[in-house]
Subunit: 223 residues, 2 copies
DNA sequence: CAAGATAGTGTTGCACAGACACTATGTCAA
DNA sequence: TTGACATAGTGTCTGTGCAACACTATCTTG
């Protein structure tokens, strides 16, 4: 007996989240291995059904936390996918989000519907369930575009970071090397980050000054 | 007896469309007066429930046609709104679209759920149902932004148009006057439009050359 | 202490955007 | 017919912002 009844047919609504990070100088996305049918055993984006008393963004954050243990990421709505046959079970409309996290969010844990959780480099994606490859492609495209006119890149940084690290993020996402002096000039001219006064020593070379975002939480449109 | 039953609660899903045009040198949006509750008699965006066998974009086009008689517009997904209490009836998630049409789409006709259809200038909007004011504001913001880095503006033009008309569109949306020579230089440098060879005579002054988009249907990102 | 690795720093040239004013061609009214 | 009016159409200059470019500084390691 199905207890939730309506006068007209209703689609199901899910959120799916493409969480990106940078690992080993490559853009990577977090996937889960599905425990249940359909696409059982297949890799997919974390996500799940919207509950009736939560807004879409809360749903995305909840599903991400439940299935992967990840919290505290930068999140933004991406696009809503709704082709009638995109899920074999029933009509499911998916509101997709993309999220960014610093690479130090390590070892996410498989939870609830996920048999396994892992980072995949964008150039080495496995077979994906549903239309999730399309979702990831769109998210990457959006990410690249926003790099130029917004401050999304800071979503990949920890609280304190060096300009070299930030430059690596830009280079990885754009897929090309950038001039060090021009990059530093550009970033510092935005007047969004400031020196912490300390520096970080890694490797056999000169330590780098550490910087911090001046007004955390504010992702701005620039220019 | 409600015939559509599910194991879990399902939200309803609608599409809502903000159709813009330029009328009397002002940006205007097409609204309908609601025939039914809730917000009966209130102005609202055209839109309605997604049917189970149509994709979201088809739903938007169908609802726009049914309620206003308007067809053949440029359409793009805007954002998905899903706060739990945004509709008093039940949980309704709205996938919103914005659309553009040349000002010569006159006299849309009220159909189905619409008691009345009318254009409203953006600076003279009436009370609006649901969160539709927020939707329109977001659409206007997106429109302004895309004006700079895409060719959306052509969505407001008829098949043949003058550079003066095109400039008026840019000026209206940006809310500021533009230099004629710089504007023409910029637009022609895009190499997207070409002279038709003919000209149009309106008013007591020199006729203007007519232009046409070279590759219709292609809305491009520029620069 | 020499080699190696990354940090950090300014100047120049060029392309593009914005400021700017006059002539051309039509209508209309006196 | 002609002068007033209205919009169409056209080029130059100047400043600003972005890309190209090389060397010194500071640390570790052998």
């Amino acid at each position: 007996m199905k207890p939730f009844c309506y006068d007209y047919p209703h689609p199901a609504v899910t959120t799916d989240i493409a969480l990106f990070t940078i690992r080993e100088e490559r853009l990577a996305v977090l996937l889960i291995r599905r425990r249940a049918a359909p696409f059982q055993g297949c890799w997919a984006l974390p996500g799940g059904f919207v509950e009736m008393d939560e807004c879409l963004e809360d749903c995305a954050l909840r599903e991400l936390a439940e299935e992967t243990g990840v919290t505290g990421v930068y999140l933004e709505q991406l696009y809503t996918f709704g082709k009638p046959d995109r899920d074999p079970r029933e009509r499911i409309i998916s509101v997709t989000y993309y999220a960014l996290a610093p690479s130090e969010i390590l070892s996410p844990v498989a939870g609830s519907d996920a048999a396994e959780v892992a980072w995949f480099a964008m150039d080495a994606l496995p077979e994906l369930a549903f239309d999730h490859r399309e979702v990831i492609a769109l998210a990457q495209q959006r990410l690249r575009a926003k790099l130029d006119y917004s401050t999304v890149a800071f979503g990949f940084m920890q609280e304190e970071f060096t300009l070299g690290e930030l430059q690596k993020v830009y280079e990885t996402i754009r897929g090309e090397a950038l001039d060090k002096r021009n990059f530093r000039k550009h970033i510092l001219a935005l007047d969004l980050i400031g020196e912490t006064g300390t520096s970080r020593r890694v490797g056999n070379h000169r330590p780098a000054k550490l910087y911090r975002v001046q007004h955390p939480g504010a992702v701005l449109y620039i220019k």
